[in-house]
Point group: C2
Chain length 331, copies 2
């Protein structure tokens, strides 16, 4: 492997000079500069990132930790970040926490070895899991989707998202309503929203479902729905809000299998607005995912470069996208 020394020798300059022209850290005589550049080209020299990182004490990798890359919502985030990183000359180490807090914790442990420039994280529930080590090691972090008290973050306001759907359902005349998902902020917004419109979301109609990973999600959704049916004989609601679009799709599938018509018998709404919901015409709440990812990246860069440690939370308002799964022929 050709190294800097080889370039220096052939260009008849010192290694330091080669380093200078590569990094543009200091002014180098144009002639010398060109000569070095030529030799680099000729020899096909490539810096050794490991050596560079070790010596300069900074790396050019950004770690991206996401719960489920098979969910197009997160895939889109990775898409944006990889693209931005590429344009800024950084590399992305991608890690999939798979909705598993234990794995998330190990991933963060692991990533510390690489001393990344920063990490973009779409965290699972338990803040304890990730914050401590990251803070200790002074690694800039920006979260997406959930806001953390220790780091900057970008997210839609999930409560408002839930409220939007509550209003939508009530305006459509629904009185018996269901929910399937975990009891997060959008659930709270949904429940509170309904309450403020004098509709009670019964506990028994809130089907607990916690599953970030889309592998086996069908089985998971089907089994929790079957469990509900076993207990209550029939679905005691005319509209249901699901934790995310993938779950919505599975719920619709399940209903179809059971001969339940959507939206005539039961209306279904999802969350995220992944592109596939438009093909299926599923009502959902839009998260401007590309914007979220972009802002997160931008903020991370700012903190990494300036060393600014101020915590900034950016909140974006979600938007309701009504489609056929709640209102027939909406289109």
């Amino acid at each position: 492997m050709v190294k800097m020394k080889d370039v220096a020798l052939k260009a008849e300059v010192s290694q330091a000079t080669v380093s200078r022209v590569i990094n543009g850290s200091t002014y180098v005589e144009p002639y010398t500069r060109q000569k070095v550049l030529d030799v680099i080209e000729e020899l096909g020299y490539k810096v050794n990132s490991a050596a560079k990182a070790l010596s300069s004490k900074k790396s050019s990798v950004i770690a991206v930790i996401l719960p489920d890359i098979s969910n197009p919502y997160f895939a889109e985030i990775l898409n944006v970040i990889e693209n931005e990183a590429y344009q800024s000359g950084y590399k992305v180490i991608f890690m999939n926490s798979q909705g598993n807090e234990h794995k998330e914790k190990k991933l963060i442990d692991n990533i510390l070895k690489y001393k990344p420039l920063g990490v973009v994280l779409s965290p699972l529930d338990d803040e304890e899991n990730y914050s401590k080590k990251l803070i200790e090691n002074k690694i800039p972090v920006v979260t997406m989707g959930k806001l953390s008290q220790n780091f900057s973050g970008v997210s839609i306001n999930h409560k408002v998202g839930g409220e939007l759907l509550a209003k939508h359902f009530v305006s459509l005349g629904h009185e018996k309503i269901g929910y399937i998902g975990n009891k997060d902020d959008k659930f709270k917004g949904f429940k509170d929203g309904l309450a403020s419109l004098n509709v009670n979301l019964k506990d028994e109609n809130c089907i607990d479902f916690y599953n970030y990973s889309s592998i086996n999600i069908k089985e998971a959704v089907y089994s929790s729905l079957e469990k509900y049916l076993k207990k209550h004989k029939k679905f005691d609601f005319t509209a249901i809000f699901t934790g995310n679009d993938i779950v919505a799709m599975e719920v619709i599938n399940f209903f179809r299998d059971k001969g339940i018509k959507v939206p005539e018998d039961i209306a279904v709404a999802g969350f995220d607005n992944i592109s596939f919901t438009s093909y299926l015409s599923i009502t959902t709440v839009a998260q401007p995912v590309r914007e979220i990812a972009f802002l997160a990246f931008e903020r991370l860069m700012m903190e990494a470069k300036s060393g600014n440690k101020e915590i900034k939370h950016i909140e974006i308002l979600p938007r309701l996208i009504p489609r056929d799964s709640t209102v027939k022929f909406f289109k």
Copy 2:
């Protein structure tokens, strides 16, 4: 940052010994070993990957280069590889070539700096783009989806995939048939398959469409379809095969917008069998994506560890999944 030297000092051993217990390279007295382990725990020591890589001349990162992470087919590949890599103690640097050969080339250039253990690549069309530098630098490579003469690879047989669909269309009684996509192996298989069944695939019904990136894919599909319409007034076929599932979805959308019924007026079939096709009941050709990714990773590991340079091509047979978009009420 606590380093090996700190551990060595506190454990009252040499730095070399600490290195030994961490890497298990040589036998270390159990007592000493335990003492070192305790200190590591106590101090929260983490190796510095850069230093390790520089010193040992081997890294623990695997580069994954894919054309479009927003396409669930590729997202699934990344999912599998990240997971396998994690379990084997490796990190994944992810790069999105975005269907852009120029970017793919630059990405490969870039990745060389990191001296990755290996690269898993789903290449675009031009082999020249990627093979040379990778070979020069002796980096193990396994391709997926396309087989390269210079590297090992895993792929379904695309020709057979195209033939499968040809048979399917003909058995359904179609005689006027269309194609939208780029003219790759599956196109050849499709065309030849039709020919062998005495059906001619007219050139004018082969709509050229080259677009790996799913951003703006809607516009791209719509405009090429509009262009066809402008020229021919109406669609002169009763069945169309699309390059991949995403394109199939857009085509179906387009037809719906135009009041064309699928499959009654025109049958549509895709390629890949991404999970969303099942929700939409789109006929497609299944690529066992998880298996492909797994085999590619496995093969890469083998080559990276053993230094085995033998080129092995694994070909998997695709499977037709007939659904409602070609045969109503198939389910």
